[in-house]
């Protein structure tokens, strides 16, 4: 057990950030929950931060292209954890049959980013907890814990605010903007899995190997490829990650579509 004492420090830092965001934004704060391993870990940290309750709503950005296992998982834990769930869909775009056939960049942008923008406006959210991590992608590695998005949703990555030590963040923003709060920024993939094991968190079974393949990162069904793997338990996943030199999001199409795709998506407000 003592091997994983360092997880306490990661956890405590995340809880500190969640509580700072709540102190500032109270009812204007929400958490983005995709039911993936990271945002489920983040949701667990929120439950810990508020001593068992979840006082903020959980938003699911539903593109309509998710796996059925994801929806089952969502419905089960919405009840079990007494969540206030907001399912956000871009109905107009779905009616227009937006899909990857119209281009991955546009598809992500319209079904995820625009949907997010709609739900923020509708509910008046000022800050969102988002479960991104530095080690997922070199663009995400450049993020701050409290990251501002302007009215047009843009990320001004050339002029990010100063954050110092573990205590001080720019938690306030002006009108017409919102903050992305990233409490998991300092966690690595392996830390997430060790924590899931330690805290006995539930995960979508797509992460576990079936017929020699498993999903290492889960998004929309059309843009996600499983990896070859025999890891059918959390212990085996931890062991696998320790020895792999394949990157976590290797199965995610939107990262590979073209040069700087992630930077362009993120600068327009993608998660």
């Amino acid at each position: 057990m003592s091997r994983f004492l360092y997880l306490n420090e990661l956890e405590s830092k995340s809880i500190y950030i969640i509580r700072e965001a709540y102190w500032q934004y109270k009812n204007n704060l929400a958490i983005l929950w995709s039911m993936g391993k990271d945002s489920t870990t983040l949701l667990h940290l929120v439950r810990k931060a508020f001593l068992g309750n979840v006082p903020i709503p959980a938003i699911h950005i539903d593109t309509g292209f998710k796996f059925k296992e994801i929806y089952e998982f969502r419905d089960k834990y919405e009840k079990k954890w007494s969540l206030r769930l907001i399912v956000a869909k871009n109905d107009d775009a779905i009616k227009d049959k937006m899909s990857i056939e119209k281009g991955r960049f546009d598809c992500c942008n319209v079904l995820k980013t625009a949907t997010l923008s709609q739900v923020i406006t509708r509910h008046g959210f000022k800050a969102l907890l988002v479960g991104i991590r530095r080690d997922e992608h070199s663009i995400r590695a450049k993020e701050r814990y409290f990251s501002l998005r302007n009215k047009e949703f843009k990320w001004d990555y050339q002029n990010q605010p100063l954050e110092v030590w573990s205590e001080y963040y720019k938690t306030k923003q002006n009108r017409d903007t919102h903050l992305r709060v990233h409490p998991l920024l300092h966690w690595r993939e392996i830390d997430i899995w060790r924590y899931i094991k330690r805290e006995r968190l539930p995960i979508v079974n797509l992460y576990l190997s079936r017929n020699g393949r498993r999903y290492r990162s889960i998004g929309c069904q059309c843009c996600c490829e499983p990896i070859e793997s025999t890891a059918n338990s959390i212990d085996k996943i931890i062991k696998e990650i320790q020895h792999t030199d394949i990157s976590e999001r290797s199965g995610r199409s939107q990262d590979k579509e073209k040069e700087y795709m992630m930077q362009k998506l993120r600068s327009l407000g993608y998660m």
Partner: protein
């Protein structure tokens, strides 16, 4: 497993900081295929050879213009299984805010210098910032030894001048290494290219250090008060030390003694807790406990309305200027009352009427506050010994309590 060591890689523009980290990732086998492919594609598009720096410099603008704009962090494992977080920072003076952001997380620092150049102003500024932040463990890397044909004389000469600078500010680098980040020389193991070199490799040097140890006295910072089923609970992080149910503690600023009735963590009660846990505390008397209150069992945290500080300013600040002081979760108004000394790279004439119209300088000042502030003397990493000043919602200075 211990927590990983956080290492800031600092130094002037073009000294090779990002290249060094990229090369360390590669040499230690910490590189993912996807990341290397991304860099290869990008280099092909720009018509350049493989650039290790692009593993860190991920923005289009950074790669195109070959500079680091913002700080980033990556993980790396040594052969012996020890883990490091490398923090890359920009070297440009205009980007000093981003350097400060990255460096503030570090346990130790690696200072990278171009062996071909005399000590640059930015190098000195970075070292002075490390000193203020309490980062005393510094590994000196004299980089680009390949550019001088791996000659000992260049190394000796460069080392002499940097030693002199370190002496003048009262610091001593832990190691001084001859390195070529580009060629991977003396990074993992000693290189055959430098047979004269008596020192150790960078990874060997890094493995000698461990993280900073927190203090032992109990100290808890109140972030918020949650009301759960009619019960008020003070929530926040344990900054140092440990606590048991039933312990007597002191609440600051009221100075009232109280007993720990309950320690809450998640949905259950605990009998004890320790740094770095974030917990909920219920005391015998929850009256007048609010955000910013410090709960402690020690006489080290003190109340003061006048504090003597050393600050690093990002904008010009005047005597008499009103500022907001934030120390942990305390938030008070204050005023810069007196400035005893200003220095940038060299000392400035003493007792100026007003700080100069310039950014990025250091000052020794006296700050008065409108409400008592709970602080401790800064000893290297204690949170109550350091603070920020805010002006118009922006951080305008970081400081330590002298």
């Amino acid at each position: 497993m211990n927590n990983y060591l956080k290492v800031a890689i600092v130094g002037a523009v073009d000294s090779g900081k990002s290249t060094l980290i990229g090369r360390l990732l590669y040499e230690s086998g910490s590189l993912h295929h996807g990341a290397a492919n991304d860099v290869e594609n990008s280099c092909r598009l720009l018509g350049r050879d493989f650039e290790f720096a692009y593993l860190l410099d991920s923005f289009e603008e950074e790669r195109r213009d070959q500079l680091t704009i913002d700080t980033t962090q990556v993980c790396c494992k040594s052969k012996n299984g020890k883990e490091f977080i490398f923090i890359d920072v920009p070297g440009h003076r205009e980007l000093i805010k981003n350097m400060l952001c990255g460096a503030s997380y570090a346990d130790i620092a690696v200072l990278v210098m171009d062996i071909l150049k005399p000590i640059e102003e930015q190098t000195k500024l970075h070292v002075l910032i490390l000193k203020l932040l309490g980062i005393k463990n510094i590994i000196l890397v004299l980089n680009k030894i390949d550019k001088v044909n791996f000659k000992e004389s260049a190394f000796v000469e460069s080392k002499k001048s940097i030693d002199k600078f370190f002496q003048s500010i009262g610091l001593e680098p832990g190691y001084c290494l001859a390195v070529s980040a580009k060629e991977g020389c003396n990074l993992m193991d000693k290189s055959k290219e430098t047979p004269w070199y008596q020192g150790i490799s960078l990874f060997k040097a890094l493995e000698k250090y461990s993280g900073k140890l927190p203090d032992t006295h109990f100290c808890f910072s109140t972030q918020d008060i949650y009301n759960i089923d009619g019960q008020k609970i003070a929530v926040g992080p344990i900054i140092s030390g440990r606590i048991k149910k039933g312990d007597t503690v002191k609440v600051l600023p009221s100075n009232r003694k109280s007993k720990i009735k309950t320690i809450r963590s998640f949905d259950k009660n605990k009998s004890k807790a320790a740094v770095p846990e974030s917990v909920g505390l219920i005391l015998d008397n929850m009256e007048s406990i609010s955000r910013g209150c410090i709960i402690s069992n020690s006489s080290i945290p003190k109340l003061a309305t006048e504090i003597k500080v050393k600050i690093f300013c990002l904008v010009s600040l005047n005597i008499g200027q009103k500022v907001k002081i934030k120390c942990l979760n305390q938030d008070v108004l204050g005023q810069i009352n007196k400035i005893n000394r200003i220095w940038e790279l060299e000392a400035r004439p003493s007792s100026p009427e007003m700080m100069l119209e310039n950014d990025a300088y250091f000052a020794e000042a006296l700050i008065t506050t409108d409400k008592p502030l709970i602080t401790e003397q800064f000893k290297g990493s204690n949170s109550l010994g350091r603070f920020i000043l805010e002006n118009d919602k922006e951080i305008c200075a970081v400081g330590i309590i002298s």
